[in-house]
Amino acid sequence: MRQMTLCVALGANLWMVAVIAPLIVGGTLASVPAGGIVSLILLALACPAALAWGAWRRAPAILFVAFPFLTVLPLLLKESTEMPLPAPPFVLLALSLGAYLVATARGLERAAIAVGEWPEVKTGALAPEQVPPRWRRRRRLYFTLAMASLALPVMLLWSINLRHSTGEALDRAFGAHADAVRALYTAGAAMLTLFVFRYYLVAPLETHLQRDRETVRAMDQLRKHAKSGRPRASFYFFVVIALGAMIAVVWERTH
């Protein structure tokens, strides 16, 4: 549980920024009907409950998906329920969410090492001589994947919420419901970011950690085949398809 302390602290910060502060600043509790107050309080309390349960069980699905979704749910419901809820500052919300996700990933990794699910990590001081080229290349790629993990959500959120042309297009297309649509697209962008992060940006690092035997085996097979000097059967198949497509395009343009 000690490994999840930072994750819980930053999760509580995200909850305060996204839920509690807007509720207090907007005076929402004073302006909603009596039945709505109970729902709102339950929704507000569901966030720390999900965070505590996810941290206790070390459940990635709860910490990466359920808790962030619950914290932005009041903002998503704001339009449809006409709830007077001010939106938190975008930069503060983005930084809080980013810091929470990074802390959660590190906390889950350390927790997995602590319970022995992964082999014990041995650390030691690096040798004073120059770092080998392959390690410099690997550090560059680690940095690239980390920057891509940061750039993707920031660019999507900027494009949906801050870009002038997108705002005008949504206002023209949806009128009074533009804010609700913008919130829906933001939620979709968040889900896409989580999906891409897990399956495309973390995946190369995960397989690299396990020595990526599958890729090494495939590369050895390719090297052996390359020595034969002949292309594989699939090469001829795709050449026929490409030539057929080119002939079809030319025929379609000329007739």
Partner: protein, 62 residues
């Protein structure tokens, strides 16, 4: 040369896929949902190729 080629191509493809996702949002704003979906698929495919090249570059020994 090959190791730098894999690395450079991986970086170009990973960051290039972001452009497809941003354009996807533009088409969503214009109600062109089919085009937006296709751009998202292309963006994910480009990202997948970039991730595979990153795996190859990480595996290279020298």
């Amino acid at each position: 040369m090959r190791k730098y080629f894999f690395e450079a191509l991986a970086v170009i493809l990973i960051f290039g896929s972001l452009g497809f996702f941003v354009e996807c949002v533009s088409f969503l704003g214009r109600h062109d949902y089919i085009a937006a979906f296709l751009l998202m698929v292309v963006g994910v495919a480009v990202l997948q190729v970039g991730a595979e090249l990153a795996r190859l570059a990480l595996v290279e020994r020298d």
